[in-house]
Symmetry: C2
Subunit: 417 residues, 2 copies
């Protein structure tokens, strides 16, 4: 007897396409042949130091190493350690707490936070809205949870935030569905490095607010701030959060917090989903559904990493030292990005408006062809659907030099061919 | 405008009932009044030492402390570190590998493994089958993933495995649905400490196998072995796994592996789902859907804990030392359980057949009433639906003495009332 599938009908044909893994594998293969020094790996999404090693912030390590084994080994409460959740809320907003009710739920990394928002704040079978340049995992989470991802065009012709298309898509979807979850990854958007300006945020809120007076409409905005601490000055990059003051009750804001990038603790899988609402009832419901999802999916979240954040944040001197180290790491990433940006301008390579973060994006009609052509120069980047992702976080200053020109040449060759 | 709910329709009315938390809270309140020494807390589901502190196995701690920070901080591959997955398979079966294809996917704890099995191996809206004494979270996971939990009666009148009712329920469900996921938590079942015997397992397989010749029927068995290393000798407790050799292709076995209890690393949230099938295609599909779920839900799993297991298991001397320490911890838990079991027999308190593990269960018509009565004696246990759960894992030898008699007295008082 031949059995084609044992998995459930909704799962069995799911197949993860992993462009980043494939690009990285191609790079590893090239390194094996040509040696690591000759090859540039612009595929990796973590900060590496100038020697190509994972950058781990020393004060974070010191505090982590000081944790008692019982703190590392014991279960955490289902929703997270109370002190962790308080620290998360303080760190999320810095001095920009809006007038609102808050809550937070510990999650398995930023991914877990986004998962919970999509799982619990979009109706089954309905659309979740994000920009056409997006972290591919948003779509994977939508499929896993039985939702559908739709996109608006992120940039207009002047490479500004495309307010008109955002409005079109919101209008279109809210004709068809009463509930809408919108995901905005800002500042330091993955993969472009773009950030919504203060006036972009005003436009976004002005577009969705009129719907809140319609009976039964429910709008949620998830702000993915995974890269925020590599986007600029703490309070400058968080200023937009003040706009979440006194929103209508049926306009709900969630913010996904991640320790991966901001604390160089990627592999410990610790994050949180933060809720902001003018309604206590909405926040209570958030706690209730988040607790349920936590219990059902991972029972509770890595206690050690939670304890680390608390210990790190509660001692002002320690946290100041940590922030100083992180600032230096941010400066390093920014310097690498600046090399690419300046060289791209010089050689006339079009790239998307980079304002900070781990990645720079170059739009392309056939990203795979350009990336393949770049392999001749032993430069490896990630071909996405709409263009090429270059990792400023992981390419050393020295190796970053010349990438833009090589990419421009690859475009020229592909155009000729 | 009044908004009742912002969450999606399928989520908004979910409310976690947490009997364990409530019982533990009542105990904490009593400790605040009477002092910790006067109070017995039999609600906690982790091994505490005789002083009431979390038991952490020293060799595990030593190895954990030896991990490089990069190993703790880096992302793991989506499906897990390859060496971790190999270690998991070796540790799951010990010397009892069936003739079959294997695979494993790292998950966030044992809960994550059970989540993936239910999410991907039961059809939406259909029933998952487990015993009527069950870990309550199975139901939470079913609700979260849009499935339904149904139960068979675990014990017959002689307190043996109720083969007849298992068969009834399998027959009944397979009349209505083509696919069936069966969850068996054995050995050291939570909350009874029961284990299926070799002949119980033969009966289970004899009941489901005839269905595999029917066109389109797909049967999956998830064996939850969270407590297996507190159930007896390594290969004795795993002997049943040999029965998974050369099963029909449409009878798929999954085993949920957890580092929580077996490695005293509860809070690091690291486990795995192991696949056993005579069909390579079924295992390939398992890898594919598991990878998809991992990426969608938590992206990847705690790398540090994975690296720990590899380092611990790959050095034979280290692992032998670790196993010796764990054996001592098992002996301690078993000694505590023996006190209860012997005293219960002496005073005529009926309890379910305990063969090992963290918990002993006492059937009761009104578990809450018995537990409340026990509070007068400053003994705190967990009232479940069908009875009372007593934690042998966390009550010291000294405090365990007399609990059975106090419980018997509570039953007698409640019966009189």
């Amino acid at each position: 007897m031949i059995v084609l599938a044992m998995a459930a009908a909704h799962s069995s044909n799911r197949m993860l396409k992993d462009a980043i893994f494939e690009a990285n594998q191609a790079c590893m293969d090239a390194m094996a042949v040509h040696g690591a020094d000759a090859v540039t790996n612009a595929t990796i999404g973590v900060v590496l130091d100038e020697e190509g090693k994972l950058a781990v912030l020393p004060t974070m390590e010191k505090v982590y190493r000081s944790l008692a084994m019982s703190e590392l080994a014991a279960y955490a409460p289902i929703v997270g350690l109370p002190d962790y959740l308080n620290s998360v809320i303080d760190l999320t907003f810095a001095d920009n707490k809006p007038e609102a009710h808050f809550s937070a739920i510990a999650t398995a990394g930023g991914t877990g936070a986004i998962h919970h928002a999509i799982a619990n704040y979009a109706e089954r079978g309905e659309a979740v809205l994000t920009s056409d340049w997006f972290w591919g995992n948003y779509n994977v989470i939508c499929v896993e949870t039985g939702k559908r991802l739709e996109t608006f065009t992120l940039f207009d012709e002047g490479q500004n935030f495309n307010i008109a298309d955002f409005k079109n898509k919101v209008d279109e979807l809210l004709k068809k569905q009463d509930s809408l979850l919108i995901i905005l990854n800002t500042p330091a958007h993955n993969p472009t490095g773009f950030a919504l300006s203060e006036s972009d945020w005003d436009a976004v809120l002005d577009i969705v607010k009129p719907y809140t007076t319609s009976k039964g409409k429910r709008i949620s905005i998830l702000v993915d701030i995974a890269y925020i601490d590599f986007a600029g000055e703490k309070n400058e990059t968080r200023k937009f959060m003040r706009k979440f003051s006194n929103l209508p009750e049926n306009l709900f804001v969630m913010i996904s917090f991640s320790m991966s990038k901001s604390y160089t603790l990627y592999g410990q899988r610790t994050g949180a989903l933060v809720a902001v609402s003018s309604s206590k009832a909405v926040v209570d419901e958030f706690n209730q559904v988040g607790k349920y999802s936590n219990r059902a999916i991972w029972s509770n979240v890595n206690r050690g990493a939670q304890a680390l954040l608390v210990k790190l944040q509660q001692d002002k001197t320690t946290y100041a030292a940590f922030e100083h180290e992180r600032q230096e790491l941010y400066n390093l990433v920014q310097s690498r990005a600046n090399i690419f940006v300046n060289e791209a301008k010089q050689c006339g390579l079009n790239f998307l408006p980079y304002k900070g973060g781990f990645f720079i994006a170059v739009p392309a009609k056939d990203p795979a062809a350009i990336c393949n052509k770049l392999h001749d120069e032993l430069v490896f980047a990630v071909p996405l659907k709409l263009g090429i992702r270059v990792a400023a976080c992981s390419v050393s200053l020295d190796k970053m030099k010349g990438i833009a020109a090589k990419m421009k040449a690859a475009f020229d060759k592909c155009n000729k061919a």
